[in-house]
Each structure stands twice: as C-alpha cells, then as structure tokens.
C-alpha cells in the first residue's frame, strides 16, 4: 500500500510537470524578450499555477505520515571521504580569491574582460548558489577565509569570548547590506569597486574570526557561510557514515529546529531574489515614473532600489506571517486541540520557502549565466591579461545568437518556468510535511496550510509573471 502511494505521488508530480510542458503549443516567433512577449505566457502561467494547485489537492488524499516516506532518504551505501581535499582545496580557494582581487584592482577595467566580476558574479553567485542548494556542499571547499584562517591561526578561539548566542541575526544584517550592494549599488560589476568590496569583506571576516573566534564568526556573522548552510539543507545528498540521497528538503527534517533569525534569513533570500526580478520589470519602472526605454542608469536609482528592496523584504515577511497566522488561527479555533504556536509555525514554515528561493535564483540568472560563463571561459585563456592564450580562445567571441532564435528562446523560457513550478511544488510538499509535524490530524494539517496554500499559488503566478514580463534594466 505504501509503495503504491509513493508511486502515485511520483506520478502526480510528473504529471503536473508534463502537463505544464504539454500546455505549450507549437508557437514560434522573433530577440529574446521580444520573443518571450510573443509566447502564450498567460497559458503557461495558468498551467504552472494549476500544477501547483493540483499538487495541493493531491496531498489532501494522503493520510498523515504518508508523505514522510517521500522525504525519507535512500542510503547509497558508499562512503565519501573528502578529508584531504578539505585541507587543501580551501587554501587554493584563498589563493584564487587573492589573485582575483589583484586582477580586480590591476586588471582590465572592462567588466567583461576582468575575471573578478566574472568569477564572483557568474561562477560564485549565480552557479554555486544553485550547486550548493541542490547538489553538494561546495562552500566547505571554496570558503576562502576559513581554511586560510585555520592555517594561520590553528587556535579557533578569538580574543573575546561571546557567551550569549546571537543566532544568525548578525549575518542577517550583513546579508541585507550585501543584497543592497548587489541590487542598488551604481556599479557592482566595476572591477575596482568589486575588488575593494571583496578585500574589505575579507578583512572584515578575518578580523572577526581573529577577534571573536572562527567558529563563532562563521556560525553567526559571516553571511555567506550562513546562507550556504541554510540553502544546503535542500541538497539531495548528504555524506555521513555513508552517502544518503533524497528528495530536496529531506535534510530539513533531520536537523535541529531553526531559529527565528534563520526564518528571517530565508525570507530575505527569497524577497531579495524576487525583488531582483521585479525591479527590472516595466511594471516596477512604470510605478516609479521611469521610462524603461530610456533607463536613467543605476546611479539614478540607488535610493529607489534600496527602499524598494527593503520594503519588499518587509512586505514578504508580513505577508508570510499573515499566511501562517491564518492557518494557526484556523487550527487553534477548533476545540479540544493542542494549540499550535505561531512562532514555531512561522520558523518551521519559513524553511519550506527555500526551494522557491533556489528555483527562482536559477530561473532569474539562467540566461545571463549562459552568456557570462562564455566570457569566464574565454578570459581564463588569459587570466592575468598578460597576452597569453592558454586555451587558444583569445579571439573567440561570445555566442549570443541562441537568444535571437524563437525556438531556443522558447526552450529557455520553458526551462526557467519549469524550474519555478517544480520548486513551488517541492515547497508545497515540504509545507505539508511540516504541517504534519505541527498537527496530528488530517483536518488540522489542511487548516494549518490555509493561508500558505494561497501564498504558494500566488507566488507561483508572481514568479512566472516576472519571467514573462518585459524588462528595462
């Protein structure tokens, strides 16, 4: 019986995805955004949203506990030992970061020819974010500060001991600043500026680790370690005594309960990613009275973008809290039930948003990544801009023609939209599983998700609408 339900569930997810893809009629038309505007995106958005809603309905037929099996990992029964590489690779990463910062200061001033912005934004921010959140713990290998600090200062203890646990609130604050730099700074791609930022942050991190202890700093303040650990809870595989593999999110239920600061961190990741998409749309620019066809440049938008970013984070937090509150209220109004704590529900449900954050990150950067990674590879042929031609690619030009062919633009868009839909479906499953942890009867499990279900459906529409909207930045 259990096996048949697992199978049923897998088929349900597959049908939801395929029905989304099949809903795309053969409709081919003329440069990337123009072609996207010609796609029947309204039909796609409807199909994607229905797929998410259908998943919710399918979950209604499950008995409490049955979804647990979906998230139970498979023991691959082999060992993975990386101990040696974990000593060496982070040091290589430190050297690489040092070189990159030097190239940032001394290398070509064109950001498309300088490996610092290309590597940091394209490889690290766009790609490693997704790798960390889906495949394996890349950050433990490439954290450029921890390994070097361990070598220089084997003693992890700092000068000052902080006994009070600040959770990850300091990291939330630092990450808010980072997102401000990414989205609102006038020139985050400028090699000089980015080199100064990377050097400054490295000094800040080193000082912090030395003064307050390496582990303390990495666990509570260093926002990238905190972020990568958080999204890492969605990875399919985990290496323990043996390697365990499961549906993304399975690890959430095997780790300790996150804190309120973790919940807020997740909301910041999701809201920042969504605002990144939103602030490029014609709709947003229209609200600000900015002509997207004559975009005044990032310099003129610093304050507007900053206010928009932090307002978006506040707004999403409030909406999410409201959605959770509706569910908690619905459950707690029932008599003879154990009340569900709003605070606990807020924290636990926030983690279920991570797949959406990772999925949208992928979708949002997919096209940019495919173009920019070519610049990275070409520039690796002459990493120091010394006139070398190590890979024989110096005269190679970046290929962007695939964005001017309607057929490939359609495939690209469907991949982006498909990932967004699948990530929402995954969040719905995690949400249901989390509700089961908080309630013990079917009626309450459904009631607890009332508000969140609306939020998930609305966010699916929003995410797909962002992909389909004309952009002016």
């Amino acid at each position: 019986m259990r096996r048949s339900q697992e199978t049923f569930f897998a088929v349900a997810v597959a049908v939801a995805v395929i029905s989304h893809l099949a809903a795309a009629p053969a409709f081919a038309h003329a440069a990337e955004q123009g072609f996207v505007l010609l796609l029947p995106t309204t039909a796609y958005i409807t199909a994607g949203t229905l797929a998410v809603a259908a998943t919710m309905l399918l979950l209604l037929v499950l008995k409490p506990g049955q979804i647990d099996r979906v998230f139970r990992p498979y023991d691959a029964a082999f060992k993975a030992r990386w101990t040696w590489s974990l000593d060496v690779v982070p040091l290589i990463a430190s050297v690489c970061l040092g070189f990159l910062i030097l190239i940032g200061f001394a290398g070509p001033s064109d950001p498309q020819e300088n490996l610092l912005p290309l590597t940091l934004w394209t490889v690290w921010w766009m790609a490693f974010f997704v790798v960390q959140g889906l495949v394996f713990n890349v950050w433990q290998w490439i954290n450029p500060w921890a390994g070097l600090h361990r070598l220089i200062q084997p003693d992890a203890a700092g000068v000052y001991q902080i006994h009070k646990d600040p959770s990850v609130w300091p990291a939330v604050v630092v990450f808010l600043g980072f997102q401000g730099f990414v989205l609102a700074d006038a020139a985050p791609n400028d090699p000089d500026r980015l080199a100064a930022f990377a050097l400054g942050y490295s000094v800040f991190t080193f000082l912090g680790m030395s003064l307050f202890g390496r582990d303390f700093w990495l666990r509570h303040v260093e926002c990238f370690t905190v972020m990568f650990n958080l999204i890492g809870s969605m990875r399919v595989a985990r290496s323990g005594i043996t390697v365990n593999i499961g549906l993304p999110g399975w690890q959430v239920f095997e780790t300790t309960r996150p804190s309120l600061s973790h919940a807020v961190f997740v909301l910041v990741i999701l809201a920042s990613g969504s605002f990144d998409g939103l602030h490029e749309t014609f709709w947003w620019l229209d609200q600000l009275g900015v002509n997207p066809l004559e975009y005044p440049g990032r310099s003129a938008m610093i304050w507007k973008t900053s206010v928009g970013l932090y307002a978006a984070i506040g707004l999403l937090t409030a909406i999410f809290a409201g959605a959770v509150f509706i569910g908690v209220l619905a459950v707690n109004r029932s008599k003879n039930r154990l009340p569900v704590s709003f605070a606990e529900a807020f924290v636990r449900f926030s983690i279920t948003l991570l797949p959406i954050a990772i999925g949208y990150h992928f979708a949002h950067y997919f096209v940019t990544f495919m173009v920019q990674i070519q610049f990275v590879i070409i520039n690796l042929s002459d990493p120091l801009a010394a006139g070398w031609n190590l890979l024989g690619l110096n005269s190679t030009r970046v290929k962007v023609g695939f964005l001017a062919v309607p057929e490939t633009v359609k495939v690209v868009w469907i991949i982006q939209a498909g990932v967004v839909v699948v990530s929402h479906i995954l969040s719905v499953l995690l949400c249901h599983r989390t509700a089961e942890l908080l309630c013990n009867n079917k009626r309450d499990i459904v009631k607890l998700q009332l508000g969140l279900s609306f939020l998930m459906v609305a966010y699916t529409i929003f995410g797909l609408w962002l992909l389909a909207s004309p952009r002016g930045v």
């Binding site: 003329a30 123009g34 505007l37 006139g387 004309p470």
Partner: protein
C-alpha cells in the same frame, strides 16, 4: 595604485616589439610602426556600454572598435605610434559616463575619449569632457551635438544625426509611398524627435502627417491604438523600440491583413533582430531606413566587403561564427569611421600628446569631405566643423523575400539643414 593591465596593451606590446624590429630593418617597414618622436601608444578611452540597457550595442561597438584599431595598428598606427584602447564601462548610465571620462583623463592619461551611443549618456558626459578639456568623439546619432547643447570638446564626425536621417527620408516617402502619413512612435524624446523633424520635412515635400499616435513607452500591446489610424492614410511611419516591437509588428499585421497602406520604419526598431524571423512576415514589402545596408547588396563595394571581413560579420550582417547573432549594423560603422577620423585628425595636427588636444579639435573642425573608402565604408561624408556634426548618405531598403534590398539612397544634400550652432566661436 598599480598600473592597469589591459588586454589590448599586452597585445599592442607585441605590436610595439614588431615596431622595434621594423626600425632595426629586420621587418619591412609596412609591417611595423614608423619611428616617432614618442613610441608611447596613443591612448583612446572607449566609453563602452558594457552593462546596462545598451549592452547589446556595446558588444558590437566593442567588436568594431577592436577591428578598426587592429587595422590602424597594422597600417602603422597614428603618427607612427600604436593605438591603445582603454575601455571603461559606463553602465549605460549618465553619471558613470562622466566618471569614465574622469578616469580617461586623470587615471589612464588618455589622449581622447570615444564611443558613446546612448543620448542620455552623451548628454551626461559631455559637460565633464569640456571641464576636463578632453576631446570627446561620440557615436550616438543624437541631434544633441548639432543642436548646440554641448561644447567644443564634443564632436560627432562618424555618424549622422537623427534630424538629418529623418528629413532625408521625406522626399522618398512623399514621392514614392504617399503624402498622407500617420506616425506611430514611442511617447518620449526619441519618438518626439522623429515626430517633429518628419512633420516639418514631409510638409516641405507637399505632404502632411494626418495622425500622430504616441504610444506610452511601457505599452506591450497595441491593437487598441490602431483604430486611430485614419482611413485616408497612405503611409504608416513607425519608430517603435523596445522588447514589444515584435508584438507591435504582429498586431499591426493582424489589424490590416492583406490590404495595408505603405509602411515605412526605422531599422532601429529591429536592430540586431533577423528580419527573416518568423512572426515578421508582415514586414515583407515594407521599407526601412538603414544607416548602412545590413545585407550585402548586389553591387557591394570593396570597402563594404573589407569592413565586414574585419569586423567578422557575414553578408546578412550577422556574426560569421554565430550567424543567429545579428549585429547592430546600422550604427556600429560609426565606431570604425570615427577612429579613422581621429587618426586623420591627429596626423593632420601632428598630434604628439595632450598638449595638442586643441590642435586636434581644430584639425577635425577643418575636415569637410570624406569620400567613401576603406576608412568610410558607409559612404561619402560631409563634416560641418561649426556644428561638429557629420552628414552622409542615408539608405532606404525594402524587405523582399526576407532580405533588405536597397531601394533608394538619399543624398547628403537631402539631409542637410541650417546650422544651429557654431562651436568654433567658443573658446577652448
């Protein structure tokens, strides 16, 4: 501050080495740089739209600039000195454009600045060029140079301006397509320029604009505007730009069906878009202004052929190694020609260094005729030193079986207008 490593500097380092060999008599003279008073490179600051809304143009302006500089260096450089391009990204942002000029003047010791396309970046940067007293050669096609709004240090010698382009279209439109014109344009400065310049020009030809349909810049669907096209319309003049252009064409086709008035547009709408794309079938038989014919014509000149080969574009104006990647062919020739004008100006002024910047400007101001050649593959030019603006031939192509076939070449005279400024009266 460590000196900037520049990929092109490194490549030029090889060139300089070759020059030394040539000077020593090891290589034929034509292959190396002549001995000059200074062997230091001439530094040209390239204000590039590497990021921001102009990035697609920036890539092609970059490719054309590289090709032009390679040719100049292969032919001995300028005054026997190699040319080095120093690139700064302006982010298609006026504030950063001004910062880029400061870096060129104060950090990189550039001799001149060059390359900007987007009007608002030119307008944001030009005052700084005047303050820094660095010659600023723009490739923008905006009327802001010739209108008198800028300064003596800002010149546009390699590309014609929109006013000239628009008014030179009127004789052909009135005589061949019709005299009753409905204009459909985006409702901001770019569209307003077209509206104002063309309305005057068509009236001078005995025609009239029977309707002016301004479309809000954020509009993405257009069907509701089409009923405003008067029945008497003989020609539709359209200059829509932005991602919704393809939707505009499709909906216009659906609105008119097989019986439509004549249609004339500016290729700016479909710059970098393959005219043969599915969905653009409605454009068959319609006309486009082109700054330079994108598709090689039956009577293609040797200059056009050499220019395409150097930049790496094929007979359809697309990248040779990525044929789906259509270039910004109607505009990027401006980079090629401007660099050749900088070279000619520097040689005429016997330019030695920044102390000769004013001599360079005066030398360029003295330029008048620039005949079609390898230096000027787009066609003959006539430079007006007073207005700092060049004038040239304009091309009208007809879409025929998925090709842009040249139908008419407007003469330089068709695009001339009265001077609105005399920059030569301004002191340096």
């Amino acid at each position: 501050m460590i000196n900037k490593i520049n990929r092109r500097t490194a490549l030029l380092g090889l060139g300089a080495g070759t020059g030394a060999l040539a000077a020593a008599g090891v290589l034929p003279r034509s292959m190396g740089f002549a001995q000059a008073q200074s062997s230091a490179p001439i530094k040209i600051g390239f204000q590039k739209h590497a990021t921001g809304i102009g990035a697609a143009y920036g890539r092609w302006y970059g490719a054309t600039t590289d090709a032009a500089v390679k040719r100049i260096n292969d032919n001995g450089g300028i005054n026997g000195r190699p040319v080095e391009i120093v690139t700064e990204d302006d982010g298609t942002d006026p504030s950063r454009g001004a910062e880029a000029l400061e870096k060129f003047a104060n950090q990189h010791d550039c001799d001149v600045a060059f390359g900007t396309l987007f009007s608002h970046v030119v307008i944001g940067s030009a005052p700084r060029a005047g303050e820094l007293k660095i010659p600023y050669f723009v490739v923008s096609e905006g009327h802001h140079v010739a209108s008198g709004g800028l300064n003596r240090y800002t010149l546009q010698p390699g590309i014609t301006d929109v006013k000239s382009q628009v008014i030179s279209m009127a004789p052909f439109v009135a005589n061949n397509l019709g005299k009753k014109v409905t204009m459909i344009y985006p409702d901001f400065a770019f569209g307003h320029d077209h509206r104002d310049f063309f309305t005057q020009a068509i009236e001078a030809q005995g025609g009239e604009v029977v309707a002016k349909i301004a479309i809000p810049p954020t509009e993405t669907t257009f069907t509701r505007y089409f009923p405003n096209i008067p029945r008497e319309t003989e020609v539709i003049y359209h200059v829509m730009v932005g991602p919704a252009v393809l939707t505009f064409v499709k909906e216009l086709g659906e609105f008119f069906g097989p019986s439509r008035p004549e249609i004339f547009g500016f290729i700016d709408s479909l710059e970098a878009v393959d005219i043969n794309s599915s969905g653009l079938e409605f454009l068959e038989g319609t006309y486009f202004w082109e700054g330079m014919p994108r598709h090689a014509q039956a009577d293609q000149t040797e200059y056009d052929k050499a220019y395409r080969a150097a930049v790496g574009v094929n007979e359809r104006g697309a990248s040779i190694d990525d044929p789906a990647n259509v270039s910004t062919f109607a505009h990027m020739f401006g980079c090629w020609e401007t660099l050749n004008i900088i070279k000619a100006g520097m040689e005429s002024a016997d330019y030695q260094g920044p102390q000769d910047r004013t001599k360079l400007i005066e030398a360029v101001e003295a330029v008048t005729d620039m005949p079609e050649s390898e230096d000027h593959p787009q066609g003959d030019k006539l430079f007006n030193g007073k207005t700092h603006q060049t004038f040239g031939k304009q091309y009208i192509s007809k879409v025929s079986e998925g090709r842009l076939v040249l139908e008419h070449t407007a003469s330089i005279e068709d695009g001339l207008y009265e001077d609105e400024v005399d920059y030569t009266t301004q002191s340096f």
